[in-house]
């Protein structure tokens, strides 16, 4: 019965796509997060020659997957499928287990962020991002996306590609505030990119849009203080780590 319905939905979709541009207000997206490790370590090394010696042993990239499920009112971004990790690397991925629930109507988010031994449950308003819209476009996962450049915390640049066709104002992690859904994003400071690899617009399991419940309740400022206290002495690596927990 379900299969039959799916087929019907698919035919309907085909017919619809031919007829006119479709807009969707529910979506399930798989994001692939890529961290360019060699570039990240080169920057952390800051001219120290350990990088030149170690770089052969550093893998080029680290990949993690996330699922983003949304309707127009709220969304959840959570860890997706797991892939075999490269046991060779001593690199510990930063912020790869976050679950971010965003309520677009109340302008709040509840983010579960496991950071070392602590799991924080951060309840706060949405991030304030200053977006500049550019005329550039590119196609991501079959959607035409427009490039926007955002400025976070007055200093951190976020490159985002969003599509008008998905009527959700969200993106990976806590990045939001564009007229459409972000399907591609890059934060040069973290040497990280997020790109949609799968986009599903029918049969979206919207019942899964739930905030995480476990964790130490806090707000963004208190969490930052706790992390800063521990990571301040870690120099460049610590600063990257702190930023990775803040987006």
């Amino acid at each position: 019965m379900k299969k039959y319905f799916l087929l019907l939905a698919f035919c309907f979709l085909l017919w619809f796509a031919k007829a006119q541009t479709q807009f969707f207000s529910t979506v399930k997206i798989e994001f692939e997060k890529t961290v360019t490790l060699q570039a990240l370590y080169k920057e952390i090394a800051n001219g120290d020659n350990w990088y030149e010696n170690m770089k052969e042993q550093i893998p080029k990239t680290s990949l993690t997957y996330f699922d983003f499920i949304a309707d127009s009112a709220h969304s959840v971004y959570k860890p997706g499928r797991e892939i075999a990790t490269n046991t060779r690397t001593w690199f510990q991925p930063m912020a790869n287990k976050n679950t971010v629930y965003t309520d677009y109507q109340k302008n709040t988010s509840i983010s579960q962020k496991p950071i070392y031994e602590e799991t924080f449950l951060v309840e706060d308003s949405l991030l304030n991002i200053k977006w500049k819209i550019t005329p550039d476009t590119r196609n991501i996962a079959g959607f035409e996306c427009r490039k926007a450049v955002g400025i976070l915390f007055d200093t951190v640049a976020v490159f985002a590609f969003y599509t008008d066709e998905l009527m959700i104002s969200g993106g990976p992690e806590g990045i939001h505030g564009l007229p459409g859904m972000i399907l591609g994003m890059g934060i040069p400071r973290l040497h990280a990119t997020w790109f949609a690899t799968k986009v599903q617009v029918v049969n979206v399991p919207t019942s899964q849009i739930q905030p995480a419940a476990k964790g130490k309740k806090t707000n963004r400022k208190t969490m930052l203080e706790a992390i800063n206290k521990a990571l301040k002495d870690w120099d460049a690596y610590g600063r990257k780590m702190v930023l990775a927990t803040q987006i």
Binding site: T21, F23, S25, T34, T36, Q38, A39, G47, N49, W50, E52, N53, Q57, K60, S72, A73, E82, A84, T87, R88, Y104, Q105, N107, P114, I115, Y116, E117, E118, L126, N128, K130, W131, K132, I133, T134, P135, D136, T137, R138, E144, R146, A148, F159, T163, D164, E165, M167, G177, L178, P179, G180, G186, P188, H191, T193, I227, A230, L231, K232, D233
Partner: protein, 923 residues
């Protein structure tokens, strides 16, 4: 849908509450051709001055939109709809005056003809599917970016958005020297790099990783650009120079230099030292890329290093050194890193002079006796090591590696020793004076060929290793000794030995190993391994006495030994490995058959030994939560006796201590158990670790010694049962950061039981040593730091032979160190080590009763020079209290040994250091 828009209006309302003078804008969006109203079109309001997004909305079902609460000002209103051209118009909004944009008609996108620019100049090469442009052939203006350069290249177009089209196909990847510059956005690389540093631009079809593995290019619809940088943009160097002197007898110097150009590295170094062996420290070796022999065990999943345990490390240094070292390294990679060559040469020269003494008292149930020894030795060791490594990655699945290590080493030693043995009543039992000289030449070559084959199935791997090594040893030496033996304190007899000893050793080993790894599932792996090893060696050790012409020609067959040895071993290992998210485990074991064939050339006798060795192992690692791990390990291993232990070779280098092998030794077996726990709470800055281990030996080998009435000791190895050792350790660290107390507690326990035979009497010794220390530190970065670490320890031991003797004692002391930054870039640091020991009864009655407390105090004052602080002048006061005697004391319930040797103690040295560096990209 309405809800959604309402939500956004709400958000924006919050962000803009500070503006009281607001206005609004409305309009309708339609399609030009079909004259149809467009719903869901995005209407965005951008601030004109910096195009920052201010507000956005979507059109309703009738194509209408309205945005209110807009602060007055000049805006760009942008209306977008998929597959339609964007509409953008400037609007000036004045307060309290709603603006009506009216009807906006959008155009479907028209296809634009692209302008084609043709250049006639320039060097262009086509290799296979790659088109290569030589950057300097295309003129660009000063300060131009790579994007400007690309615009000039024929067949390449760059549009206003920075998107590149090459040969009619879209460019989706821009690499810099074969590496992705940043993510997937090609413009980051093209807009940020200067055109001046570019050597070549290569354009080829984008291949997926799978295509690359298969070696077949798929039908790609996109292109990749690789920007090759000029070599001088990859140039760099760094180095260090150091010179120091006490303006008397101590002179130190050091030069390190490393130069790299892209992937080619050249390092050179030279040192001279009178205070250490002159060997480079780990950090320096690592920096120069020497010894960078970190290898990855694909199967075990860890990195390991062979490590060179040579005679030139500071650890074993005894005596006063005069050391030199020099070396160089060349490494290069080419053909996209497929070829990797590494050549290194290392020279060490270490001369030492040493005055040493050993005082020993042996406590037996019926008697006590004393052995005292004083020696003066001189040694000179020289070593040349040449290392070569070559790796060839034939394709992404196949790698061949060859490595060769060649050593040439000479050791010259000479020394005189005076010894005396005293009875219970402190009467002489024997005395001896001997002079030894020995020259040894050691040549060794180890060669290894590796072949690694991966397969399309992930994790499947075949590894083959072939090894071949050669060792040639030649040594010659003289022994002159004069011994007097006493009876009741009166000379009874004397013995004079005047001998020449010559020896040669030749050894040839070849072996092979095949390892195959088969992934059974994503988590289970089966590893099987087979190896064989064949060693043929010949040893000639001959001792000659003087003939009538004062020449050493008469063979002393008692102390001569000539034999051939063949050792052949087959080994098979099967291991099952599980790698889960939380649990990791390895279970497996190996068995090997070893055959030793010993042919005694002097007597024509042949002896064969067959051993079967087993090595079971079990290992578990469990990650309770991130940064908290529990692990357990069991290792079993057969312990085969060494050839020296089996062979009845007599050695009289020290005529008063003779060692004789035992051909009837049985193989032993070692059980090793080990449990570890560690937990690191990063945010709380708390680290805790603890571990416990137990080692039990079956058929352990102990020394059976007999002392005759003249105090001459003869030692033979025999099997004993019931030896074990154990250890426990634990630590806890808490705190981090400036001006905070950091606490640290560490504890160490080790103990065990061992069996020895002292003058044919069995002694079972049980011992426990416990040490506890507590560290406290406080610092302010770049200003000061202080750390104190008191410690206390207790050493207890009981011997079955002398249960009445209590040789238990306390040790205490610790360490204190401090650092202070002063005015004029001056820095002061100092450290003190206290090593204090409780006086015990045995010492008080013995001749070894001397104060063994050592307080070692060092201080250093330094000043940094130059703008970049690259120069440093150091004044060092080493061992200010002049107490650093080389000292070693072993206290047991049966014997007390006190060993002293010479060491550089107090000195004051002035030295200057200069470091220089230039990294690629730096000015």
């Amino acid at each position: 849908m309405r809800k959604f828009i309402a939500g956004f209006v709400f958000i924006l309302a919050i962000t803009l509450t500070s503006h009281s003078q607001t206005t609004s804008i409305k309009g309708t969006v339609t399609d030009t051709v079909e004259k149809k109203n467009l719903s869901n079109a995005v209407v965005t309001l951008l601030r004109k001055s910096d195009s920052v997004l201010v507000k956005f909305t979507r059109t309703n079902a009738n194509g209408g939109f309205a945005i209110s609460n807009i602060p007055a000002g000049t805006y760009v209103i942008m209306i977008t709809y998929p597959k339609y051209a964007d509409f953008a118009d400037e609007v000036k909004l004045t307060a309290a005056k709603p603006y009506d944009l009216g009807k906006v008609s959008l155009l479907t996108r028209a296809i634009l003809l692209k302008e084609v620019i043709v250049h006639n100049t320039g060097a262009i090469r086509i290799k296979g599917d790659t088109t290569e442009f030589v950057a300097d052939s295309f003129k660009v203006k000063e300060g131009a970016t790579v994007e400007d350069l690309l615009k000039k290249l024929p067949g390449l177009t760059v549009n206003s958005k920075g998107e590149i089209t090459a040969q009619g196909k879209r460019v989706d990847k821009v690499l810099v020297d074969g590496e992705e510059f940043f993510g997937d956005d090609p413009t980051i690389a093209t807009q940020n790099l200067s055109a001046k540093v570019v050597d070549k631009v290569q354009v080829f079809d984008t291949k997926t990783e799978q295509d690359q593995i298969k070696g077949i290019a798929g039908n790609s619809d996109s292109k990749t650009i690789n920007i090759k940088l000029k070599d001088n943009a990859k140039k760099g160097y760094f180095g260090k120079m150091e010179a120091g002197s006490d303006f008397d007898r101590l002179h130190n110097g050091k030069i390190l230099y490393n130069n790299f150009l892209g992937k080619r590295k050249v390092s050179l170094f030279g040192t001279k030292s009178n205070t250490s062996t002159g060997s480079l420290g780990w950090e320096e070796r690592n920096k120069l890329g020497i010894d960078n022999d970190l290898e990855y065990d694909e199967i075990g999943g860890y990195y390991y290093s062979f490590g060179t345990n040579d005679d030139f490390s500071d650890w074993g240094l005894q005596g006063i050194p005069d050391a030199y070292s020099a070396g160089g390294l060349y490494s290069n990679k080419w053909d996209e890193d497929k070829n990797n060559l590494n050549l290194a040469y290392n020279y060490n020269r270490l001369g030492t002079t040493n005055e040493a003494s050993t005082l020993k008292q042996t406590l037996l149930p019926d008697t006590t006796f004393y052995n005292n020894e004083n020696s003066n030795t001189k040694g000179l060791k020289q070593q040349h090591v040449f290392t070569g490594k070559y790796e060839w990655k034939i394709d992404s699945l196949t790698t061949i590696k060859f490595s060769s290590v060649n050593t040439y080493k000479t050791t010259e030693t000479s020394g005189t020793t005076h010894s005396e043995a005293l009875s219970d009543a402190r009467e002489f039992v024997n005395t001896g004076d001997r002079t030894n000289t020995n020259d040894l030449t050691h040549k060794q070559s180890d060669n290894q060929l590796n072949y690694k084959q991966l397969f399309k199935k992930k994790g499947r791997m075949l590894m083959t290793t072939l090894r071949y090594s050669l060792i040639n040893d030649d040594n010659s030496g003289t022994l002159y000794s004069f011994n007097q033996f006493f009876k009741n304190g009166v000379i009874d007899s004397t013995l004079t030995t005047d001998q020449y000893k010559a020896g040669t050793g030749r050894s040839q080993t070849y072996g092979g190993k095949i390892t195959y790894n088969e992934p059974l599932s994503t988590k289970w792996n089966l590893v099987t391994e087979y190896s064989f090893n064949n060693n043929n060696s010949t040893s000639h050790k001959n001792t000659f006495e003087k003939d009538n012409n004062d020449k050493y020609t008469i063979l002393d067959s008692f102390y001569s030994n000539n034999f051939d040895l063949n050792a052949f071993a087959h080994t098979g290992i099967v291991t099952l490995r599980y790698l889960g998210k939380k649990l990791k485990s390895v279970i497996g074991g190996g068995a090997s058959a070893v055959k030793l064939r010993l042919h005694d050339l002097d007597h024509g006798a042949t002896r064969e030994y067959n051993f079967t060795n087993f090595t079971p192992q079990i290992q578990f690692g469990y990650s309770i939560k991130p940064q908290t791990n529990l692990s357990f390990r069991y290792n079993g291993a057969t312990r085969q006796p060494t050839i020296d232990q089996l062979q009845p070779i007599r050695n009289n280098n020290d005529p008063l201590n003779v060692y004789i092998g035992n051909p009837n030794l049985k193989v032993g077996f070692n059980h090793n158990l080990n449990l570890n726990y560690n937990s690191f709470q990063v945010l709380k800055s708390r680290y805790m670790y603890t571990g416990i281990g137990f080692n039990f030996q079956e058929n352990a080998i102990a020394n059976f010694s007999v002392v005759d009435i003249y105090g001459k000791t003869t030692t033979t190895p025999i099997n004993v049962q019931g030896n074990y050792t154990y250890y426990m350790y634990g630590g806890w660290v808490s705190g981090q950061g400036d001006q905070k107390l950091i606490h640290e507690i560490n504890t160490n326990v080790n103990g065990g039981r061992n069996i020895t035979f002292i003058n044919a009497q069995k002694s079972i010794n049980t011992y426990v040593n416990i040490e506890l220390n507590y560290g406290l530190s406080y610092s302010l970065q770049d200003k000061y730091s202080i750390r104190v670490e008191p410690k206390i320890g207790r050493n207890t031991s009981v011997s079955s032979l002398r249960k009445d003797i209590n040789n238990n004692y306390w040790t205490y002391g610790g360490r204190a160190e401090g650092y202070l930054k002063l005015f004029w870039k001056l820095e002061f640091s100092s450290d003190v080590d206290f090593d204090l020991r409780q006086q015990i009864e045995a010492f008080e009655s013995a001749s070894t009763n001397t104060n063994t407390n050592i307080v070692l105090w060092n201080a250093e004052l330094s000043k940094k020079f130059f703008k970049d602080k690259s120069g440093k002048l150091i004044f060092r006061a080493n061992d200010i209290l002049n107490q650093n005697k080389g000292f070693n004391r072993i206290i047991n319930s049966n014997f007390v040994t006190d060993q002293r040797y010479q060491r550089i103690a107090q000195y004051f040295m002035l030295s200057f250091q200069w470091t220089f560096t230039k990294m690629p990209g730096q000015k």
